[in-house]
Amino acid sequence: MTDRGGVVAAATGVEALTTEEPVGRPTGWWGMVMFVATEATLFACLLGSYFYLRFQHGPVWPPDGIDKPKLLIPLVMTGVLVPSSLPVVWAEHGIRRGQRWRLRAGLAATLVMGLSFMALLVIEYREDLTHFTMTTNVYGSLFYVITGFHGLHVSVGLAMIGWLLAASLRGGSFGSHRHERVRNAAIYWHFVDTVWVAILFTIYLSPRL
């Protein structure tokens, strides 16, 4: 109890309260964080539109006899995409210690996982397109535009990862003193992952609730 009291006193003392936080972030980090913030708002608007249109639409959702989305492929996609953040983290920690091989291996692993995600998305679309398309009704529009827009973001993220990998294979690009770009691309990739979870919930799980 006294110990905890001491912690609270320390954290609410004038020195702690005047601690500078956030501090020492590079400009590129701030730039990427702000970019991700505006992109996240974009997805929030899209997903908000989904719920708005859904609840204005009436009780039957998906409408017009479209089946509720099947879960198998999307869950596999989640299983591929979400863990793909781990190799990036591992790679980033590696290059901070100057271990170039970790950077290369980690990026390559993420690249493979991201590409598998895209391949699964194509399989998923091929199946869905036999039932409904973007022009069938508003459900179809929402479904394809939201997942497609996310797919576009995964592609951009993959381009970043591929670009990093190419630069690191050339050599002379990254090391323990120079890894800002790795950090920034990693932030973007984590963002793309996180958004997918929100999309999984909105597009695939929420119609079943």
Partner: protein
């Protein structure tokens, strides 16, 4: 106050300051989105209950919890104001002190503002029947 705070305490203190500055704003955002969507969704479904709970009670939670969070934020901001005031009186003069003090002033007023908005929302919950157009 004699021992220098460790890095953990410093981090907590630094974040606490931001809670004191922006806590009310965040609480208000949560309040607005929660109260609005609860009301809209329930009324659109032609029901005055949410998962068995009467709508007005659910709405009261969406007012009360953010309200408490804002009061907490207000208290933190006043605490910073007092601590920096004492340090100043003791003759301390550094930029971090003045900067935190300025942020605390902003925090106190901002929290009062957001508390007022949330409280007005609470009054509305008591006054209006939830689904009247």
């Amino acid at each position: 106050m004699t021992a220098r705070p460790g890095p953990h305490a410093r981090l907590t203190g630094g974040l606490l300051l931001w809670y004191g500055v922006l806590g009310g704003a965040a609480a208000w955002a949560v309040h607005l989105i929660a109260a609005w969507s609860l009301d809209e969704l329930a009324c659109a479904a032609k029901s005055e209950r949410i998962a068995g709970v009467p709508l007005w009670q659910a709405l009261s939670v969406a007012v009360f919890v953010p309200g408490v969070a804002t009061v907490g934020s207000l208290l933190v901001a006043t605490l910073v104001l007092r601590r920096t005031g004492q340090a100043r009186a003791a003759g301390a003069h550094d930029r971090a002190l003045e900067r935190s003090r300025m942020l605390a002033v902003v925090g106190v007023w901002a929290n009062l503002l957001f508390l007022t908005i949330i409280a007005l929302g609470g009054v509305a919950v008591l006054v209006f029947p939830p689904c009247q157009g």
